[in-house]
Amino acid sequence: MAVKTFEEQNLILNMGPQHPSTHGVLRLVLELDGETVVSCKPVIGYLHTGFEKMFEQKTYWQGVTYTDRMDYLAPMSNNLGYSLAVEKLLEVEIPPRATVARVVLAELTRLASHLVWLGTQAMDMGAMSVFLYCFRERERILDIFEACSGQRMMTSYIRPGGLAYDLPNGFAEEVKAIVDVMPARIDEYEALLTKNNIWRDRTVGVGVLKLEDAISLGVTGPNLRASGGTLDVRRDFPYCGYEEYDFQVVVGERGDIYERYVVRIREMRESLKIILQGLKRLPGGPHVTTDRKVAFPPRSELATSMEALIHHFKLATEGIRVPAGEVYSVIESPRGELGVYLVADGSAKAYRLHVRAPSFATLQALPLIAKGGLVADLVAMIGSLDPVLGEVDR
């Protein structure tokens, strides 16, 4: 083989894993011909923490805390996906207050997660101010999470059986206050970007993902819908009573970065609609199931009821025992289809718990859409796929 001259050679460039705009620790090995990306190979695993192994060592309650740390931008969604899988095998009834609160919190999470996406994507492309606006609103949502669970990000608030604690006083008013200002705030973001010529030049027709490729690659969520796919787990496989809420599944068609932007922006508005409906129907009553084999009895019963004391002791020492069986339970996380495959053997620990992380599948699309594009657009493409590396590596 003849030695290639400098002009003929392609440049191999290592991008990441500590590159600030790869959203965590994504490493890309790029082959560049001038400014054109010839090939792009993602290298992942830098954040691999062995969560799936840990689920096998920990009780079902302890397992909740690991779900927060997978998709750290959408902790409530991950709590919910995990809890629903466990509850399907337990066949336990969740009180309506907890169910509605879960929907409200999951949609708030979607809002918060999309705000981070919008802020970071715009910042990656040079629009710093959008980031500041987005994080201003996200802070208020995190304040609500803090009031609920005591934690801003690692909430572990939604647990098998219901919620960890009852909703705090003034929850509905605080959420309502945010929902009331958000439409105007989203208008502000749009005023900065939607018709902005620089933004449009850099996003329209860039990073196009075709529908058949998206389906074959297992891309889900807003990325699939921007390409014209009509899968939304909330509508197609309703959980937590999503079938009773009135909302639209936002579907685009072109599948470029701009379309993904439009789809997510419109999804934020749909989320606001769902939150408002949830607040209207938020009932009183218990926040956790009355099944004593799943949730602790109230403190007042312990002094008078022997049975309650036994249940408390069994739960505190062993945890929940989940009957043997297997289930694949899916929810719509902000990033797409979050699947939990749980195999239980009747003990208090999962025998096997596999998480089908939406970002893991989505990130496979990056080499495809990056090929032939400019290296300067690559950062925009990564941002538009919105991967969270904690979830990719698990």
Partner: protein, 186 residues
Amino acid sequence: MSDQTTVAEQPAAPEKDPVLAQVEERFGEKLLESSVVLDQPTFAVRREDLIALATFLRDTAGLQFVRLSDLCGIDYLDLGKTPRFAVIYHFHSFQLNRWLRVRVPVDEDDAVVPTLTNEWSGANWFEREVYDLFGIEFSGHPDLTRILMPDEWEGHPLRKDFQPPKEPHEWSFNPEEWQKAVQRGS
């Protein structure tokens, strides 16, 4: 259900799941297992029938499980099942709006399964993950390398009998050696 038919008759056997019926008719004896678990049809086939079943599910009108949603491995060692491993596939059909599970049992001594990357390009990373964490190989896979663990890692962590490696020497604490060092006065 109309009212007239159900009055005096014996309670009819529950209607067979249409997906189950269609797959059983085509594959019959080849199915090691066929049932509906929590509304999810579940089949088990030998590895030589996997691609035939997967493409049948995808291409048959009335089924159209066009999306491979998930692919993972499992180690049945502690449950005492044989063969020891299985690879589990979850398919999704837009048309039927349903999930479907396919299980392929895998022998420990001959842990090889045909790849689905030619049918679904998204199977690529999922199969690498199963290879990485369980040591199950996928024949025909374009790039079967470790994906989550470091390349030089030994063993497959999600196996039930996996022993975590010892810490590198300079960070480890060995009580006996420590005692000796104390006695030596160093």
